[in-house]
């Protein structure tokens, strides 16, 4: 069991400012927003629960920059079919982390089904402790989209 913020910081450090990140709904987006520095480009996917891996896959197929999805366990289960689409179609610069706290923490902590040890299309499952409510994501969807579009349009000269 890891602390949530520590697990997120480690992912951000591992992939650095070269990657574009997609953070899942609810507390995952909020916690990534709190941990990310100004150098990190993150799509805070506030709606469309379950679709962070799909969005990341679309980005990775259309751009050369590394794409890192930070998902939640109940969100993974909601769209489990995506694990197979990723298995069959994701390029090597796509990464998918699942933060697993065993519950729907963002909407009240109701238990969710425990995950298996591994899934296709998942880079790593990180078991985390519940960590409570982080502050809201302060960037608007419009500003967020603009930032992400610009980052994905940029050449990956640093690679």
């Amino acid at each position: 069991m890891r602390a949530r913020d520590e697990a997120i910081r480690e992912i951000l450090e591992r992939h650095g400012a070269e990657a574009v990140y997609v953070a899942s709904t609810g507390y995952v987006s909020r916690a990534v927003h709190a941990a990310a520095g100004p150098e990190h480009v993150v799509l805070y996917m506030q709606g469309s629960m379950g679709l962070a891996p799909a969005i990341g896959l679309g980005m990775a197929l259309a751009a050369d920059r590394p794409v890192v999805v930070i998902n939640g366990d109940a969100s993974l289960l909601m769209a489990l079919g995506s694990t197979h689409t990723i298995r069959d179609h994701a390029p090597a610069h796509f990464f998918h982390y699942v933060l697993a706290n065993g519950c729907h923490e963002s909407v009240g902590g109701q238990p969710s089904a425990p995950l298996e040890e591994s899934y296709p299309g998942v880079t790593e499952i990180v078991r985390i402790e519940r960590a409570g409510k982080p502050p809201r994501v302060s960037v608007t969807p419009e500003e967020n989209t603009e930032l992400v579009r610009a980052a994905l349009a940029r050449e990956t000269a640093s690679r």
Partner: protein, 137 residues
């Protein structure tokens, strides 16, 4: 919004309009179109497991500068509503939906009656409704 009675030549038209990325879930009403889609190079076509996933993949590709198309049967519009409403519209992400308009069998009647109105209600204008004879069976 467009209504067509045949999917013949539809891929060619969409490609001419600049569409360069295709994802979705197949429908019998789109057989001809999909036969052409399956001939595309793999970097231009990713079959999805369900329609919400297809909208998500298309959204990611759109953010990376592509002009995507999502193909689906109208039954799958139910799955597509949330990502259109909570992702594409608030984040300003564009894509074209190619929708097979099934409407005759009992399980298709309700959605067959409301598919165009549902999209109108959402405020989603960018779609092609295909009303071919394959939709009748």
């Amino acid at each position: 919004m467009r209504r067509v009675t045949s999917d013949s030549g539809l891929l060619e038209e969409l490609v001419e309009e600049g569409h360069d990325f295709f994802t979705g879930v197949p429908d019998s009403g789109l057989k001809g179109f999909l036969a052409d889609v399956w001939e595309l190079p793999p970097e231009q076509h990713v079959p999805a497991t369900w329609e919400a996933e297809a909208v998500g993949i298309a959204a990611g590709a759109a953010l990376a500068g592509r002009k995507p198309v999502v193909y689906l049967q109208n039954a799958g519009l139910g799955h597509a509503v949330n990502p259109l409403a909570s992702l594409c519209i608030p984040y300003g992400i564009e894509m074209t939906l190619v929708v097979g308009h099934r409407h005759t069998l009992p399980q298709h009647k309700v959605m067959g009656d409301i598919d165009a109105r549902l999209l109108e209600l959402l405020g989603w204008d960018d779609y092609v409704l295909v009303e071919g004879e394959n939709n009748e069976g």
